[in-house]
């Protein structure tokens, strides 16, 4: 071998040159923004999780394709996501959030169910920065769980869900104007589901405020299949308006029984969560004419685009719940880029606090239907429309924006 020392020196020099050409700050390469989705991916509400995950993937892919999110030092970080199943079960939800909080996840979007969100928010630190409170310091930005007033449980909980009392107050007032001869209301409610129960109370209060006489509530359970007794009472009472505060499975059953017993109210009002494809698939023509206030409809160019991309490339449906995932990701991007998040593995807890404080300061953002106002108790006041089931699709009946 000739000049082995020279060869070694040459090899080292070449290696140094190559390394120099490809070198970037190690810290910037390693940095990622970790956002975890938490929702129901199994059980009968799996469809919510599937749609939320599809929308999360779409929003994050678009952000990463555009270079990721900007960090405090000006470098950019890719967004990494996961989607964890909470099975619409409180214990499961708490368990997965505890696990995510013990890892390097910065924030979570979810959960699906109000009966998960309520106890979950209860394990978070009630007041941010309270040294005497050992609750989890982990920001959660909810997209779906809709039962009113939950975010006030903890300063680490944020929600971007429609404000049902506002929507139903407006809806019943509008219905009264359009149907002055409609005077009475009865409500059918799925009484063992937190959201449905809360919604029935909201409908009742809104109807009374609008001048309707509420004749009563008929109750059934989430997995009931036969509604002749309850619908028989509708038939006898002959209300002008019937409100169904139930999810698609029992809504469809009740509507079929109404058809059987020839119960034809002047107006039929449904639950916000039923303004989905699921209702159309399950109910068919029986859903025709049902009016629901909803926080999403493809009525703006951006809403149309997002709905189209999610449906075509991610095999999901954008509805009032999953639309919030897209909005939440956009809000998180803005807050992360402006609140000094470092994205280092050593700064996770500080970054969570920065993110929480940043989210708390958001007063308004651009949603898919228009401007979304943020309230003091970390909830959203979202634009909405009144949708009606027509020819097996949801169409906008009235757009108050």
């Amino acid at each position: 071998m000739k000049h082995p020392a020279r060869r070694i020196v040459s090899a080292i020099a070449i290696a140094i040159v190559i390394a120099g050409l490809t070198w970037q700050p190690a810290a910037a390469q390693d940095r990622t923004i970790k956002i975890a989705g938490v929702g129901a991916m199994s059980g009968v509400v799996r469809t919510f999780g599937v749609n939320a995950k599809a929308t999360l993937d779409m929003a994050v892919d678009e952000i990463n394709a555009a270079g990721g999110m900007k960090l405090k030092d000006g470098s950019r970080a890719k967004v990494v996501t996961t989607y964890v199943d909470e099975r619409c079960n409180a214990e499961e939800g708490i368990s997965v959030i505890r696990k995510l909080a013990s890892e390097e996840w910065l924030v979570s979007i979810g959960p699906t169910c109000s009966n998960v969100a309520e106890p979950l928010f209860g394990i978070l630190q009630r007041k941010a920065g309270d040294a005497g409170d050992s609750g989890l310091q982990f920001p959660i930005f909810t997209d779906t769980a809709i039962k009113p007033g939950l975010a006030k449980i903890s300063e680490w909980s944020f929600r971007n869900v429609p404000h049902e009392p506002t929507m139903y107050n407006h809806l019943f007032k509008w219905l009264k104007e359009k149907n002055p001869d409609a005077k009475t209301l009865m409500i059918g409610v799925e009484s063992d589901f937190a959201h449905s129960n809360a919604n029935a109370g909201i409908m009742e209060a809104a109807a009374k405020a609008a001048g309707f006489e509420v004749l009563g509530q008929e109750k059934w359970l989430l997995n009931d299949t036969e509604f002749s007794t309850q619908v028989g009472k509708f038939r006898r009472a002959k209300p002008d308006v019937i409100g169904i505060a139930a999810h698609p499975f029992t809504t469809c059953g009740a509507l079929r029984e109404m058809k059987r017993q020839n119960v034809k109210p002047k107006v039929l009002v449904g639950l916000t969560s039923s303004a989905t494809l699921e209702t159309m698939v399950g109910c068919g023509p029986e859903a025709e004419g049902m009016i629901i206030p909803t926080g999403f409809a493809p009525v703006t160019p951006e809403a149309k685009r997002v709905a189209k991309v999610v449906a075509e490339r991610y095999k999901g449906n954008v509805d009032l719940h999953s639309a919030a995932v897209y909005e939440n990701i956009q809000v998180l991007k803005t807050v992360i880029e402006t609140s000094g998040v470092e994205g280092k593995s050593t700064s996770v807890q500080q970054d969570r606090r920065r993110l929480r404080d940043g989210l708390a300061q958001v007063k308004e953002f651009q949603g898919l239907l228009g401007k979304v106002q943020r309230t003091e108790d970390r909830e959203s006041t979202k634009p909405y429309v009144f949708a009606v089931a027509k020819s097996s699709d949801w169409v906008v009946l009235y757009d108050p924006r």
Binding site: R46, W220, N223, T225, F249, R260, L277, C283
Partner: protein, 293 residues
């Protein structure tokens, strides 16, 4: 007649007819217990699985409803055979809890398969009788439930013929009464057991399709109620008694509807389970079983 009397009769009528769906499911539970003295908690979901396969056939072919119902029956029969193979065939015979727990696992497994295949969304199931309602004086009778009631009677008649007038029935009774003696006579108990699972699966398919068309929707939400109601029916009627399952189902339906009318939804299931406790304490053998155990 007063409104109250009209309503009470209407509720009894509704409960009686809807109870036939419980009866059909109860037959499956009771027949397997009668032959093997073991509970198959996956029977309700077997019926539901058959109905989902029927729905798939309908969506693919838009074919005649006879074909759809036939698909439900055959698919549930096949699922029944799979349940026997996985939950009973290989399980130790002297440890009955193993088979019971295996069927619990199978119940949730099949339910989750359905959830993943459908995303948990309810799916409209074809209803050949549509929303047919018959007026009988001041009362209304649902056409599909009346049809289901007639079918449950036919199923019971068919089962009676099978059990008492066929070689398979003879073998089934022999295995049920004296398994060792039956084996000594050349009867293969495992084959008989498998045949019973297929037959009950076929009945489950009939039940699943009829319940699907009566409800108008299929949903994984149905799996657990079918299981619980089928089990309660079988206990009320007397585990092992086919006429008992019919009577138990109808009784359960009537009690549920009256409880719903008089006490509301919050108490309906409480009344049902109080009835179950009352039977277990006072008449543990059920309506058609022995008085004592």
């Amino acid at each position: 007649m007063s409104d109250l009397a009209l309503d009470v009769v209407q509720q009894a009528l509704n409960g009686f007819l809807f109870g036939s769906s419980y009866a059909l499911i109860g037959i499956g539970f009771t027949m397997i217990f009668g032959v093997m003295e073991k509970l198959n908690l996956a029977f309700g979901v077997t019926a539901l699985g058959g109905a989902y396969v029927a729905l798939l056939v309908f969506q693919l072919t838009r074919g005649p409803l006879v074909l759809v119902f036939l698909a439900a029956v055959l698919a549930a029969g096949l699922i029944g055979l799979i349940v026997e193979f996985t939950c009973f065939h290989w399980m130790p015979r002297d440890y009955p809890l193993a088979a019971l727990m295996a069927t619990v696992g199978m119940l949730f497994f099949i339910e989750e398969v359905i959830v993943h295949a459908t995303n948990g969304m309810p799916r409209a199931f074809p209803a050949p009788l549509g929303q047919l309602m018959l007026e009988v004086g001041p009362w209304l009778v649902r056409g599909d439930l009346a049809f289901m009631f007639l079918v449950s009677l036919l199923v019971m008649a068919g089962l009676w013929a099978l059990v008492y007038h066929s070689r398979l029935g003879l073998a089934t009774r022999a295995v049920s009464q004296q398994p060792v003696a039956a084996q000594l006579c050349g009867i293969a108990p495992r084959r008989v057991n498998a045949a019973v699972f297929v037959i009950t699966g076929l009945i489950g398919g009939v039940a699943g399709a009829l319940i699907g068309s009566a409800v108008g929707n299929l949903s994984p939400l149905l799996a657990l109620p079918l299981t619980v109601k089928g089990l309660v029916t079988a206990v009320l009627g007397g585990l092992g008694s086919i006429p008992g399952a019919i009577a138990g189902g109808l009784l359960l339906g009537v009690v549920e509807y009256q409880a719903l009318y008089f006490f509301g939804i919050g108490y309906r299931d409480m009344v049902t389970y109080l009835l179950l406790f009352a039977f277990l304490v006072g008449r543990p053998g059920g309506l058609f079983g022995s008085k004592g155990v």
